[in-house]
């Protein structure tokens, strides 16, 4: 895919390879509508920025973003307004796939191809293509990293803590499930689990209470690197370092910490916002009726799942250009 780290220029908004493929030659003019949750979080902000930056690359794309919102009711109206505007393709990162399913279905029924980003719609008739990260796989990757390390250190009955993001999101539950499943293969389980809200501040609050609850900890998996800054601050404040921690999503900041190897953060598992850039590319191709040039298929595939990769001290340098700024 175009997401090969090597191909991406620096910064958090990796751009598509500009030269080479025919697909990037200007084609039929298309309008791409875009709707996502409110950008109150580094990852989501990166999503919005990547999408916009990608669209700017093309002279044949008119990018039509709508007000990001965390209110379902409003996101429904926003998507409705894009349907009314008769855009050629819609890229939607829904606040909740199930709740936005109906309106996405309406778009599809109206002949507008929907590119579903990240949080998935339950009904396949509601979208043309889904692209997103592997949430379950993320949990698995984190679980394996922690399991391996503890096994090697010969720890038995380890205290493993999990700090989730927003508990009510299905993706959180997928991540936790992957994590638990992977740990089980080592005979380990999660000792305590709390949810933060994807914000630095709630990360600090939850972590500082958890650190009180557990006087000795072996490992922590924190689902999200944005809130991770707060978690790390709480750890530093408490002066604790008897454990190691794994992050999630893959922010540049986390990667730098990992690379420096100066604190408890030893790894993070990716869930890259570059998927937004890809989603725009896909939307353009679909609207123009093209396929993906690296594939034999005439059309864009129905679903694309990004792999969740584990970034450690050893490969951090390689991934850093892809990291998003918190």
């Amino acid at each position: 895919t175009s997401n090969e780290p090597a191909a991406a220029p620096s910064s958090a908004a990796p751009q598509a390879t500009t030269a080479g493929t025919d697909n990037d030659q200007p084609g039929e003019k298309v309008v791409i509508g875009f709707s996502a949750p409110a950008a109150d979080h580094g990852w989501i902000a990166a999503i919005a920025k990547n999408a916009e930056a990608q669209a700017k690359q093309y002279s044949d794309v008119e990018f039509k973003p709508v007000e990001p919102t965390n209110d379902i009711n409003q996101q429904i109206s926003a998507v409705e307004s894009l349907i009314q505007a008769k855009v050629n393709a819609l890229v939607i990162l829904p606040n909740d796939g199930e709740q936005l399913n109906q309106v996405a279905r309406r778009a599809t029924d109206a002949g507008i191809p929907v590119i579903n980003l990240d949080r998935v719609f339950p009904d396949k008739l509601s979208y043309r293509t889904w692209i997103g990260g592997d949430n379950y796989g993320m949990g698995v990757a984190a679980g394996h990293f922690i399991g391996d390390r503890l096994k090697q250190a010969g720890v038995s009955n380890p205290v493993i803590l999990e700090i989730q993001g927003i508990a009510t999101l299905p993706l959180t539950q997928d991540r936790s499930k992957g994590f638990a499943d992977a740990l089980k293969t080592y005979g380990f389980s999660v000792t305590a689990q709390q949810d933060a809200k994807f914000t630095v501040e709630s990360g600090t609050q939850v972590a500082s209470n958890l650190l009180q609850a557990h006087k000795k900890i072996d490992a922590i998996w924190n689902h999200d690197d944005d809130q991770g800054i707060g978690v790390l601050a709480a750890i530093k404040e408490a002066g604790r370092d008897e454990f190691f921690m794994v992050g999630g999503a893959g922010s540049a900041n986390a990667m730098r910490d990992i690379q420096a190897d100066s604190g408890v953060l030893k790894a993070t598992v990716t869930y890259s916002p570059t998927m937004a850039s890809s989603a725009i590319k896909l939307a353009r191709l679909i609207a123009q009726g093209k396929g993906m040039s690296d594939l034999v298929e005439q059309q864009v595939p129905q679903s694309i799942t990004l792999a969740s990769e584990t970034i450690t001290k050893d490969n951090a340098a390689q991934y850093l250009p892809l990291g998003f700024e918190s």
Binding site: N73, S77, Q84, D96, E98, Q102, P170
Partner: protein, 354 residues
């Protein structure tokens, strides 16, 4: 006059210097000013809502200028109304509560709980009608509990309903296991409230209109409604006049809960789901609409029409932003400014003799 007067009793405008109470006594026994008959009959009182109407018109002009093709289309109006419907129903209940001297912070949470309860598989087994009844019963029940804590438990409304907010969200999360519950295909009749159109408008807009109309009638034409002003404006006077202030207050919160139940039906129709995350921060939006609409936070004064106009202003602002594709941060900044301007306009229209 004092800066806060807007929120204090007697005031017709918010803190207009020439409305200070001390000039009342000196004037004639009869009316000081030609009272606007409409305002006191609770009618659509043109004058008092002039500022709101002007603000709405200005927004419409902005829409016509910036996005002429998309703004003034009938489908866009439908979209605005559908967006306003859910919170609009809640705003009607909130108007009653605030005129009655209270406040209800739990509206969004109650709506969420009602939507979750109505979409459990157990409830869904009985079909859409039972689901709707369930939502209404849960909403009204939670409202009654609020009312009971406030009336008979003598809790401050802010705290009682805050407790309900927290507890209802927790319960909704627990019932739904924090998952989004889909309306089953068998029960899609419920969803049709949002998809079926009559004369171009989705059914849920009619429900919204019905709730507003009934709310208006109850507030302006029934003894219950008129007594609500007394209970909010001067509870001691209400008591001395033989009104059962406690029971009345209880009913007001139950009414607000009922509206949350109806709103739950609408949100289920619109999103096809029940979820513990529904209605997040609706309380702030609804209260803001009510207050922008001219209802005093201290009770005793206010109108349903004003609240709905206030709500429409917010909804149209959002709509305009969407249509113009503004970036979020700028949208927020602009929204703040627009609220300020709308309120200042409203004050001006109250100050100007009509």
């Amino acid at each position: 006059m004092t800066p806060q007067d807007g929120t204090r009793d007697l005031r017709t405008g918010s803190g207009t210097p020439d409305d200070t109470p001390h000039d009342t006594p000196q004037t004639k026994v009869a009316a000081r000013r030609p009272a606007t008959a409409s305002s006191l009959l609770g009618g659509i009182g043109q004058a008092r809502h002039l500022g709101l109407v002007v603000a709405l018109v200005l927004l419409a002009v902005v829409g016509l200028v910036t996005v002429p093709d998309t703004f003034a289309t009938s489908s866009n109006f439908v979209s605005i109304l559908a967006l306003a419907a859910t919170i609009g129903v809640i705003t009607v209940g909130m108007t009653f509560v605030i005129i009655g001297g209270g406040i209800d912070l739990s509206v969004g949470a109650i709506m969420a709980l009602a939507s979750v309860w109505a979409t459990t598989l157990a409830t869904q087994a009985y079909g859409p009608v039972v689901m709707a009844i369930c939502a209404i019963a849960v909403g009204t029940g939670a409202g009654l509990l609020n009312g009971f804590l406030i009336s008979y438990g003598r809790m401050v409304p802010f705290i009682a309903t805050l407790a309900m907010l927290v507890a209802a969200r927790g319960l909704a999360q627990r019932m739904s296991d924090r998952r989004t519950q889909l309306v089953q295909p068998d029960n899609s009749a419920l969803v049709e409230l949002s998809t079926t159109r009559v004369f171009g408008l989705p059914l849920l807009v009619y429900i919204f209109a019905l709730v507003v109309a009934v709310g208006w009638l109850v507030l302006n034409r029934t003894t219950f409604g008129r007594r609500t002003y007394a209970v909010g404006g001067n509870p001691e006077a209400a008591r001395l006049a033989g009104i059962n202030v406690r029971r009345h207050t209880l009913i007001l919160y139950a009414l607000s809960g009922l509206c949350c139940g109806i709103a739950a039906i609408l949100i289920m129709a619109r999103t096809t789901t029940g979820s513990s995350t529904h209605g997040d921060l609706y309380e702030l939006d609804a209260i803001a609409a009510v207050i922008i609409g001219g209802t005093l936070l201290t009770g005793g004064r206010g109108t349903i029409i004003g609240s709905i106009l206030g709500l429409l202003i917010f909804t149209v602002i959002t709509n305009l932003f969407i249509l113009n594709g503004l970036n979020t941060s700028d949208q927020l900044i602009a929204k703040g400014l627009i609220i300020v301007i709308a309120v200042l306009l409203q004050r001006r229209s109250l100050n100007t003799p009509t």
